[in-house]
Amino acid sequence: MSLKTEEMILNMGPQHPSTHGVLRLELKLEGEIITDVIPHIGYLHRCFEKHAEAMTYPQIIPYTDRMDYLASMYNEFGYVLAVEKLMGIEVPERVEYIRVIMGELQRIASHLVALGTYGADIGAFTPFLFCFRDREHILHLFEITSGARLLYNYIWIGGVSHDLHPDFLRLTKEFVDYFRPKVKELNELLTFNQIFIDRTANVGVLPAETAINYGITGPNLRASGVKWDLRKDDPYSIYDRFDFEIPVGNGEKGTCGDCWDRYYVRVKEMEESLKIIEQAIEQIPEGDVTSAIPRRVKPPAGQVYSRVENPRGELGYFIISDGSVNPKRVKVRAPSFVNLEVLGELCKGHMVADVVAILGSIDIVLGEIDR
């Protein structure tokens, strides 16, 4: 008698604790070994691009907030830069500094969620709450400045909606001092834990060549050892004025480009962001923040592709204007959308538990993938 085996198809999601939203993964399993992963996306599709065609340019900003809801500031930042590039607006110095401070704070907040949920994916729940506790401080900073905690509509075309709160700079400085030891604590609790290292090192190795060919950007690309950061390599805003490092993965605990590297690059990036924030606080000039806001946003006909280094990678806005107050086409090159594509490649030959580890290390936000 011969035994027949058949491959098991396991549906992971759309409702699953660790798919980070409504992602459905169709896993083909050989026991617990994965032979194929097919991601199914679109459960959170809200037609952002269609909406944008019916909106005026400033009205789109609240919608960009809702794409990558963990890094709303940066979405606005990117969008606003694209429109300003199209219209040729110069913004005041102070606005640039405010945007950079906000952007970097947002990067820390976003990475904190990424790291915390990654810990939770691996099974450690405490770091998750520690990260959220620290993120709360950043959200408070945003709240006193813009009035909202998550979806800010703060960065506007040509300026920002409010000037900084009088306490903002002091509180930010306090936060920087508060946060440095917390990063160390996170490292002690999770990063260098041997079980965590075992779970993540040598898992889901993404070689640099493959990463570039797949269009991977952001911390995921840097973890593969490619020193590519738009803040340095294609500087926008005033990032060329700051002194900071670009952390890259070097395979410290396993192979270069594995999950642990992707995780640790984010930890180090938070520290670099702290550096930028500190410098920006020192240098920020006084001035009017609303002076360059145009009364009527009506860019000339033409197309523009502008990109920023979002916490998740390269966030590009491709805007085609036909010279009216509504854009003709807004296409978002969402970093998570592109980064998720490589999942199938990374997961092959690993186990079910590794899918969670790899997916978490890519750090996707479904709001951005489905838009």
Binding site: G42, I212, Y214, G302, Q303, V304, Y305, I320, F337
Partner: protein, 176 residues
């Protein structure tokens, strides 16, 4: 580091008719217009040729040019007849640090563009998205199915300018 003009020259010499023109009247980025069925060869060249080596496809974006004539169909809805759909390719070389924008325009009624999926793997989902949203068929794509919309969506391609919301999807009312 190569300017768009140099790239255009090189492409023109190599491909002749397939490379149509260089649009420089743009406020920000100029783009090179390429014939839709030759774009994969052009891209392959840009990807491989020394001195260009565009190893990264930043973005691939479908666009409805809406340049056809507007007519009314039998239900009195505006639809667009004729005209073109376009695809924009944003390429970048992380080695030489130069960028270029390619544009292909294809017929609205039968939009066909050859796929660049085998050059840059990232084009896979981008092309699926363009297919999903505009109905642009990418020839030689290995798995050209809808990606964001339901797989069995039959009401057309939502990002076209003349898209009409269907009344019902599987018995569910669509406009809530």
């Amino acid at each position: 580091m190569k300017t768009p003009e140099e790239i255009f020259e090189a492409l023109k010499n190599k491909f002749g008719e397939a490379v149509i023109n260089l649009a420089t009247d743009q406020p920000v980025d100029p783009y090179i217009e390429v014939a839709p069925l030759e774009v994969d060869k052009v891209c392959k060249f840009l990807f491989e040729e020394e001195g260009f080596e565009f190893n990264s496809l930043l973005n691939l974006s479908g666009v409805d040019d809406a340049n056809g004539e507007k007519v009314k169909d039998e239900n009195d809805n505006d639809i667009i007849k004729g005209g073109t759909l376009s695809v924009f390719y944003h390429l970048e070389s992380t080695i030489h640090r130069h960028k270029i924008v390619l544009k292909v325009s294809t017929d609205r009624e039968n939009p066909e563009v050859s796929s660049v999926e085998d050059i840059w793997r990232t084009a896979d989902w981008h092309e699926r998205e363009a297919y999903d949203m505009f109905g642009i068929k990418f020839l030689n794509h290995h798995n050209l199915i809808r990606i964001l919309m339901p797989y069995d969506w039959e009401a057309g391609y939502p990002l076209r300018k003349d898209y009409q919301n269907p009344e019902f999807y599987k018995g569910m009312k669509v406009p809530y």
